[in-house]
Symmetry: C2
Subunit: 216 residues, 2 copies
Amino acid sequence: MLMAELSRRSGVPVATIKYYLREGLLPPGTATAATRAEYGEPHLRRLRLIRALVEIGEVPIASIAQILATVDSESVSTHELLGAVQYALGPQQETPSDPDEVWQAAEREASDLISELGWTVEPGAPARTLLVGSLAVLRRGGMAPPGPPLREYARAVGQLAKREVASVASAACAAGDRLVLAESAVVGIVLYERMLIALRRLAQEDASARLNGTGQ
Amino acid sequence: MLMAELSRRSGVPVATIKYYLREGLLPPGTATAATRAEYGEPHLRRLRLIRALVEIGEVPIASIAQILATVDSESVSTHELLGAVQYALGPQQETPSDPDEVWQAAEREASDLISELGWTVEPGAPARTLLVGSLAVLRRGGMAPPGPPLREYARAVGQLAKREVASVASAACAAGDRLVLAESAVVGIVLYERMLIALRRLAQEDASARLNGTGQ
């Protein structure tokens, strides 16, 4: 297909596609004349992944190049590919360069919880740092540490994660395409996260309405 | 206490406290001399709430004034106060001015889910719009709608929300202070949300490692 059709089918403006070509995010088409090039289905799938990363994941262009390199490298396992996608998505929490006692205590609390759940995660996983950061803020504010409800939630979410990961992996395997796998991962992680946040807030509103006697 | 002590005890720099005074977020202290004023415990609690809104909730100063007015108005119920805090916290999703068919279908899907769960929530609740927006993106991408796992999650989170809301309300009732209630709500909503996101991502990493055979 020509540039105009690639733009129409992907919903991405021509100027943006040209920008991605210049940045090397999209490989050049096959030149058919001095000013014409043919683009194929892989270009379309690649554009879909880039748009998901930009629009849904809010990932900066610099990190997108890295994710695309990981997708292109066939020697990288599916597990590592999913990790690269997840690690690139915010919110990110910085580790202090000189962690104080509170941070260290929060780190032990997070590690204990993860071991208790029997989960295998990298020591440098951004989600682990995000958990530590939140636990540290609770401690600094002199607030009660999260108790059994958080553990119960963690178990429920663990069951869901197994199904999610299996379904993303099997859908991508059926499509036989790592670009599709990466796209499903972005959508699955970000959109579901938003839905989970939304549902929790709706549940809070309902619970508060009932407590207040204004619910049904 | 004098300004210097208020700054020390709250951890908020003097210049920032003066800015809050100018913006009317903090009421003036009791003047004891031409350039001296005494501040009390309510100033301290108010500063803690403002800092929680700014640092944890990332709420803009303009919205903070509104929340403080709600806290100060004793005729506003606890339920409405919790609502004002929750509604001010991001992420926000804009409603399109002219919703297309996809958006309308996503709206019906969200309403059906909320009725099925038996939850009482305002038609204009930002969390409802956030849910609709995510469902609309799924539909636009031709992706499968969320199935039973989302409902299962919603039920689990509903159970948690009941306990959360009850514990925030009872702690605030014991403190007898609406400033403390609002502060607990900000912390509870934002920090727990971050922890829930972190736990879900850690659960995904573990599930992916197991599927890949690299887990323990």
